[in-house]
């Protein structure tokens, strides 16, 4: 039976922001996939994305239909399953483009590195919500969260998917800083991390160093990542104020953009809609993030509070990294733009995130 207060408290505003962004996403994916010759084969991707959105809607509904508080109990099992899936990727994963990121289960191609992000937010929220000394978590108390982050981090690094690994680390650090880390522990961790960098660096092989350098500075590889960046910047810049018009993007149409329907979708959008469209979408994404923070702010329960922060950090960092990357502010990594980029696993992950935010939002007054 559904509590009437729940319907009353449902976060219609969040739903509206999400639907708006989703609509922008679908139309942009359509442009990205049809401009690319040959259109017939590519159009399939658009219909697939419609299916993903429908599924995402169902998953989102499922994610707010139960009380998020039960997740406090389920956090560990969920985490274990996701880590096992990640291990499965390492062992059985499908090799594509030089890395193993996909798990093929019959017709479904699963990307466990997407799911682990949520699982990690859950276990960290559970752990941090048990509270600490007012001075913050000390070094000993931080060992567990560090291990809980380090395991998936390592498994994603060896895929290798440095972008997602970095994202996982960023989310964990954001959550830890939010719940407060003891000053002494913080200093120690920052300095030891700084000291570790040259040590690890000296252990790496030359080609590994080269890979990391190219990752940090794509200009070193002007035929690969550097080329993509300059083409992406041309696409965005050439949109000028009002854009070239929907389906009129030339950078997009001539396949100058790599991965234009996934990682570089923002460039397509900016080229076709100009500053008006791109700034509009960016502000809409900002509203989404601030909305998430507001949900955290209004939640009275520590678990829900930290969970909302973690989820918002997940979404927020993805926006920062993806948009920053298309504009040449960040290294080129395979991190999709929430609600806009094409992709099954990522759409479902975002749907779960939104559903959980709604879940926390609508139950903020219910104290059990």
């Amino acid at each position: 039976m559904i509590d009437r207060r729940l319907i009353h408290n449902f976060d219609w505003g969040l739903l509206m922001v999400v639907m708006l962004l989703g609509a922008v996403g679908l139309t942009t994916v359509y442009s990205a996939v049809t401009a690319d010759p040959p259109p017939a084969a590519q159009k399939v991707l658009f219909y697939k994305q419609m299916i993903w959105f429908t599924l995402g809607f169902i998953v989102m509904t499922a994610s707010f239909s139960f009380s998020y508080r039960v997740l406090d109990r389920w956090a560990h099992p969920i985490y274990v399953v996701c880590v096992l899936l990640l291990l499965g990727v390492v062992v059985f994963g499908k090799l594509a483009g030089g890395s193993r990121r996909w798990l093929v289960l019959g017709p479904v191609h699963l990307q466990p590195s997407e799911l682990i992000k949520i699982a990690m937010v859950l276990v960290l929220a559970k752990y941090f919500s048990k509270g600490s000394d007012p001075r913050g978590f000390n070094l000993r108390e931080l060992i567990r969260p560090m291990l809980m982050t380090g395991l998936p981090f390592a498994l994603i690094v060896i895929q290798p998917d440095l972008g997602t690994a970095g994202l996982v680390a960023l989310i964990a650090v954001t959550m830890a800083l939010f719940v407060k880390v003891e000053r002494r522990a913080l200093t120690l961790l920052v300095t030891s991390a700084g000291a570790l960098v040259p040590l690890v660096w000296s252990l790496l092989k030359d080609y590994q160093k080269q890979r990391i350098l190219t990752f940090l500075n794509p200009d070193q590889d002007p035929l690969g990542a550097g080329y993509h960046i300059i083409q992406s910047k041309i696409a965005i810049g050439s949109g000028m104020i009002s854009g070239k018009g929907y389906l009129q993007g030339t950078q997009n149409a001539l396949s100058f953009l790599p991965e234009e329907h996934t990682d570089f979708i923002f460039s397509v959008l900016a080229e076709e809609w100009g500053a008006v469209g791109s700034i509009g979408v960016l502000l809409l994404l900002l509203v989404l993030i601030l909305w998430g923070l507001n949900i955290a702010h209004r939640c009275r329960d520590p678990f829900g509070n930290i969970l909302a922060i973690g989820i918002t950090a997940l979404l927020g960092w993805q926006v920062m990294i993806n948009v920053g990357m298309t504009m040449g502010l960040m290294p080129v990594v395979g991190v999709p733009l929430p609600l806009i980029s094409y992709g099954g696993s990522s759409t479902l992950t975002v749907a779960i995130c939104i559903g959980l935010l709604m879940n926390i939002s609508m139950r903020r007054f219910l104290v059990e």
Binding site: P134, L223, I241, I279, L282, L286, P302, L329
Partner: protein, 621 residues
């Protein structure tokens, strides 16, 4: 009020939300500013670039490392080649341009069009390679008509050039376009399809050293595809130079000597295992592989009866014939089956199990001891020695001498050879070993198979006092600036299983083969350099009872000669095999002798040794 604080204090996260929000706003502010910079401040510039679609990528190929011989003589280098590219996007009317271009390139317009169509899968702005290595006259004509040929560009690329076209081809090897399997294997992460990769020989084995790393350029081109400005360049890192242990002069001399026959010759430095010459005959011209070999030329190479593409020095497996008697002698001595005074009567044949096992000398040698048996290659002596040893003890010694196993030289598809034993035969054929077979094996016939490199290394070990060195083909690797990246160190692979005293007996035996009055290799004798060596004649078919029948050339026995010189302190060990050459002393021996002469008479010894910086290992006896 007090209650409120108590409730809030333990999870005092609320004020921190404000901090988080401010951080978010600041980060989004950066994104917004960047967006405004790109779209509004720089918008027109980027719009212009996008309208021209004028950013092109050019790979800057790294110059491939040189291949040098031990004295720095160039074996492989690079030379500029002018390649004609065509970019459909820049051409406008592609048909007209290609028609005109076909006049200059003297290839039919349809062929050019087919090439362009073939690469249609690629985006239209990617240049298609139409013709490689055009002459300077064609280049001049093209440059003059440049304006009328939009989309056509000439690129200078470096092409591999093998300076001594037919020399050391099997060692140097050649380049080819990377194959689909090689791309898929994941062993060459930096390579794309169309890139050249070492396919054979040193080019393949040391590809990683030689290749270097490509650089790249982002350039802006005008409507005709001409470069207007370079936006960004990353320099290529040239490949490293590879210095081999090969002595080009000796190598070339050996090739001349083997010209016209099928065979192989290997020369190594007994003091360290450096390969001074590695010859396989006939040879081929690696330059014909550089821009893809024509199918007729390929067909001719593959169907040649003398198999020019095979590196016979390491891939050729031949019965060692009488050269194997070195192994039988040292096994017999060491196992005390014989000693230096043991003598057997040779009456021209040994009767065993109802059959005559013949000696090559029909009238017989009379009573011979081990030294004379080696010098005169008496078969009966070694039949008897083999009988006393048994096949398995003999096999153990042969393997301990480095036979029947790869030497680890690191070149393509090195063969193992074969040393038979009773368990091997049981496993291979399912029937037990026959003692008669031991007799054949004792004189290097039967199942025995060895490669010329293995035999050269055996001769080196006998000569230097018993140390078996791993063969080295690579001496060092240097950057273009001359900084040494890798320096090969000589490495012991093992020792001959023989005491210094017994080894000396074997050494004396094969010394007498060349320098003795009745030695089988008297023709090899030199007045100024003492050579110690052993002839060999390995049967292609079973030895016939009557020797005066005509034998067709391809069934004639292979001729072997292994030696080292100077006998007292060897600086060179050689193995030569001439396929169907019949007699070791006449077909293979003189080749080895000439190689010794070339090498040892070329430079005064002191100078040669000073250059190498190595000391000859004295025998440990």
């Amino acid at each position: 009020m007090e209650q409120f604080f108590k409730k809030e204090e333990p999870d005092g996260y609320k004020p921190r939300i404000v901090g988080v929000m401010l951080t978010v706003l600041a980060l989004f502010g950066v994104l917004l500013l960047r967006l405004i910079y790109l779209q509004i401040v720089m918008g027109e510039e980027y719009y212009r670039l996008s309208m021209n679609n004028s950013i092109r990528l050019q790979t800057v190929d790294p110059p491939r490392g040189l291949i040098l011989d031990r004295y720095g003589t160039r074996l492989a280098e690079n030379r500029p080649s002018f390649d004609v590219n065509f970019t459909p996007k820049d051409a406008g009317d592609a048909g007209r341009v290609l028609n005109e271009l076909s006049l200059y390139l003297q290839s039919p317009a349809e062929e050019l069009l087919a090439k362009v169509k073939h690469s249609r899968g690629l985006a239209a702005f990617k240049p298609v390679l139409l013709k490689q290595d055009i002459g300077r006259d064609v280049l001049a004509a093209l440059e003059a008509r440049r304006v009328d040929l939009p989309g056509v560009s000439v690129q200078v690329r470096l092409r591999r050039n093998y300076l001594q076209a037919m020399n050391a081809s099997h060692v140097i090897g050649y380049l080819g376009e990377i194959s689909l399997e090689e791309l898929k294997s994941g062993d060459h992460p930096g390579l794309r399809s169309g890139d050249a990769i070492g396919k054979f020989g040193v080019e393949r084995t040391f590809d990683n050293y030689l290749r270097g790393e490509p650089g790249g350029r982002q350039v802006e081109v005008n409507a005709n595809g001409q470069v207007m400005r370079v936006l960004q360049t990353v320099a290529a890192r040239p490949g490293h130079n590879v210095v081999l242990t090969i002595d080009r002069e000796l190598q070339q001399r050996a090739e001349e000597l083997l010209d016209g026959v099928a065979g192989a010759a290997v020369a190594v430095d007994p003091a360290n295992g450096h390969i001074l010459a590695l010859v396989s005959s006939p040879t081929f011209n690696p330059n014909s592989f550089v821009s893809g070999i024509a199918s007729e030329a390929w067909e001719a190479l593959v169907s040649h009866p003398f198999r020019p593409l095979e590196n016979k020095a390491i891939q050729g497996e031949y019965p060692p014939g009488s050269t194997f008697k070195i192994v039988t002698a040292l096994a017999g001595l060491e196992e005390k089956a014989i000693d230096e005074t043991t003598a057997f009567e040779c009456a021209g044949a040994l009767h065993f199990a109802g059959r005559d096992y013949r000696c090559w000398k029909r009238e017989g040698h009379g009573r011979v001891d081990v030294r004379r048996a080696l010098a005169e290659s008496c078969d009966v002596f070694f039949y008897r020695t083999g009988q006393r040893l048994g096949v398995d003890r003999l096999a153990w010694y042969a393997k301990a001498c480095g036979l029947g196993a790869r030497t680890g030289v690191g070149l393509d598809q090195e063969a193992r050879g074969l040393i038979p034993s009773s368990t091997w035969k049981k496993k291979r054929f399912g029937v037990p070993w026959q003692e008669g077979e031991t007799l054949s094996v004792s004189i290097g016939q039967g199942y025995n198979l060895t490669t010329p490199l293995q035999m050269a290394l055996l001769a080196a070990a006998v000569g230097n006092g018993g140390i078996r060195y791993r063969p080295l083909i690579l001496q060092r690797v240097e950057t273009v600036e001359g900084e040494v990246v890798f320096q090969a160190a000589h490495q012991e692979a093992g020792r001959l299983p023989i005491s210094p005293r017994n080894l000396k007996i074997v050494q004396e035996g094969i010394w007498a083969a060349v320098n003795g009055e009745r030695g089988t290799a008297r023709r090899v004798h030199l007045s100024d350099i003492e050579i110690a060596g052993k002839t060999g004649t390995s049967q292609v078919v079973g030895r016939k009872d009557s020797g005066d029948d005509y034998t067709p050339p391809h069934l004639r026995p292979h001729a072997w000669f292994v030696c080292y010189a100077p006998a007292a302190a060897p600086k060179l060990a050689v193995a030569v095999v001439v396929e169907n050459g019949e007699h070791g002393s006449s077909a293979a021996g003189p080749i080895a002798r000439e190689m010794v002469k070339t090498f040892l008479r070329k430079v005064p010894d002191a100078q040669r040794l000073a250059g190498d910086g190595v000391k000859v290992v004295a025998g440990n006896g």
